[in-house]
């Protein structure tokens, strides 16, 4: 029971999670049509990345500008499996080499490259979706954190890695599909992904996985590791001198964030039906940071709201006022950093809770007759809650 309480993080957080679950699992599926719901599903795949960033940036102080790399690698692993399934010899018989993905045929490749071979197996793919990005994160983390590379340098190096991977994917057209990426994904183990019912089911699987990640994140933060992360962020030297191996904790949380991003990427490939280098590079990677920043870098749930809100804004404005969008996005970066460093979650803590409490107090006349619960102390208690 105590473990469960720890996981849910008390009454306040339980209400927060319940509200979010209500919104994602009930309100959206009931009110949105299939197309819009699929779009929300796409936004929610970015929320995986944002949740990971809350862990490693908000709490651990590690700003990775290369989360798109893990999102992309996870997505590409899934897309490679789906692409192989979509290019069986039967449906690709007009190619000069049937049975290989179409873009390979266009690039005069006559044999499936060795890198693609294991992706015939679904179980291998499921393992690879998480294992490959985590391994990558582990190597990067080992190399950088063990040598005590500072925060800023870590950010720059991860950004450079995002650039390298994009250039590599675009350059190796025959192996990766180049700029267009891997497109025309149709079925998963014979199950047609393009139907509305499949999309609905995928949406719920996606939401379930997202809540799974939030719970894992919550568990980590509630444990001693969560305290250590914050301590490292604020006074790294002091934690090191207390006898903790700072680098290992950093590597761990970076790997967790990478795994979350990779799950998001794989779900993206399943729901949207393609994967391309435009989700890997510098610009998408840094945009993922703004999702977490808008939602609140210290709030796992806020990250989900941030991802939903920013992406909705992006879709809305780039459809209606494409000129304005970059100004808004830029302004958002500046405003969030300079005026609302704790994002929406911070605003909620400082203003929202009190406003809600005031609203609840004023509203029902029945309560006005009954002695009002001491307002002063109540708001104070609310303020100090994390």
């Amino acid at each position: 029971m105590k473990a469960l309480d720890k996981l849910l993080g008390g009454q306040q957080n339980l209400i927060g999670i319940a509200l979010l679950a209500l919104l994602i699992l009930v309100v959206f599926p009931l009110t949105l049509d299939a197309f819009r719901l699929n779009m929300v599903g796409k936004y929610l795949t970015y929320a995986f990345v944002a949740v990971g960033l809350v862990l490693c940036w908000g709490y651990g102080g590690i700003l990775s500008l290369g989360q798109g790399v893990f999102f992309g690698v996870g997505g590409y692993c899934m897309a490679m499996f789906l692409k192989l399934e979509a290019s069986d010899p039967e449906s690709t018989k007009i190619q000069s080499t049937p049975g290989i993905p179409d873009f390979m045929d266009w690039n005069q490749i006559t044999e499936l490259p060795w890198l693609w071979q294991p992706f015939h197996s679904f179980s291998f793919t499921l393992v690879a979706v998480i294992a490959v990005p985590v391994l990558l994160a582990f190597i990067i983390g080992m190399a950088l954190f063990k040598r005590r590379v500072g925060d800023v340098y870590f950010s720059i190096v991860t950004q450079a890695i995002a650039l390298i991977l994009t250039v590599l994917i675009v350059g190796q057209q025959g192996l990766t599909g180049g700029v267009n990426g891997i497109t025309d994904l149709k079925t998963l183990l014979g199950w047609d992904l393009r139907t509305d019912s499949a999309k609905l089911l995928l949406y719920f699987i996606n939401a379930g996985l997202l809540f799974g990640c939030i719970f894992i994140g919550r568990f980590i933060l509630a444990s001693k590791l969560g305290r250590l992360l914050m301590a490292m962020r604020d006074k790294e030297e002091r934690v090191r001198f207390s006898g903790y191996d700072v680098a290992s904790f950093k590597i761990f949380v970076f790997c967790v964030a990478a795994a979350f991003s990779a799950i998001g990427g794989a779900m993206f490939a399943l729901q949207v039906g393609f994967m391309s280098p435009s989700f890997v590079g510098i610009v998408p990677s840094i945009e993922m940071v703004i999702f977490a920043a808008v939602g609140g870098r210290m709030s796992l749930l806020g990250a989900v709201y941030g991802a939903l809100l920013v992406n909705y804004g992006k879709t809305y404005f780039s459809e209606s006022f494409p000129e304005l969008w970059l100004y808004l996005m830029g302004g958002l970066f500046i405003a969030v950093v300079m005026y609302f460093p704790n994002g929406l979650a911070g605003l909620w803590d400082s203003h929202g809770r009190q406003a809600l409490a005031r609203l609840l107090r004023r509203q029902p006349p029945v309560q006005a007759v009954a002695p009002v619960v001491k307002p002063k102390t109540e708001s104070k208690i609310l303020e100090t809650q994390p």
Binding site: R148, I286, Y327, I334, M338
Partner: protein, 305 residues
Amino acid sequence: MEWLSEFGAIAAMQGFNGLSVFCVLLLMALGLAIIFGQMGVINMAHGEFLTIGAYTTYVCSSLTAHFAPSFQPYYFFFAIALSFLVAGAVGWLVEWAMISRLYKRPLDTLLATWGLSLVMQQTFRSVFGAREVSAEPPAWLMGSVNFTDAIEIPRNGLFMMALTVLLTAAIFLMLYRSRWGLQVRATVQNRLMSRAVGINTRKVDRMTFALGCGVAGVAGAAFTTIGSTGPTAGSQYIVDTFLVVVFGGAQSLFGTIASAFVIAQTQSLSEFFLSGSMAKVLTLSSVILILMLRPQGLFSIKVRK
């Protein structure tokens, strides 16, 4: 002996090619070496200050062609000076409005300046259009100099080199031989102590940032001689530029020069054997691998934090 001279010619041209990449990298990195290397501010909008310089030169060129065609051979020097002033002034404003409030939060500076770069890019697009524009270089920069029959060196490349050397020398003198440079370095090393001995650190910060931006503007002006300018022209190089500064060892101007040279030569040499994109992948990966082995960069004595 024919093949030998041919080989020599190819080697010379290839070497020159590497040298011009070196100049491009170094020109971009110089401003950043001041802002990032000395002040520790991560200015992701550095590329946009470069673009400001390039657009300023373009405006100068159009105005000259329109109002004073006879001034054409000389306008370029004027444009360089103006680029420096405009980019520096914008940098001064940015430092005042934004950077100065974020000195204690380097990672947040990174995000805020990224936002700034988006805003600046869209401003360029709104003002100058999404299409690339090009300034008309003065006639004496066109064509090339023939050293032998086989070796041709373009004049704009030579001009870039000269400008790079001059600018580097100027920055070196300012940082290491002037009273102002002494104040900058003192502020960087110990802000509180510098303030205690009477240095106006606020003013030093603002001037340093403005100078770095101005230098980026000059680089942008120089770039108009080798290519056209678009709204996102500067941002394409921002990661390479940061890598140059980090690779060289952030606080060392000499390190920046050396690392720009190494990276440029690796890049142009591998381009000779591989495709352009693979050459870039190879260069960047080697830089990152070396940085993993030697995180403090090529030339640095201090362990960085």
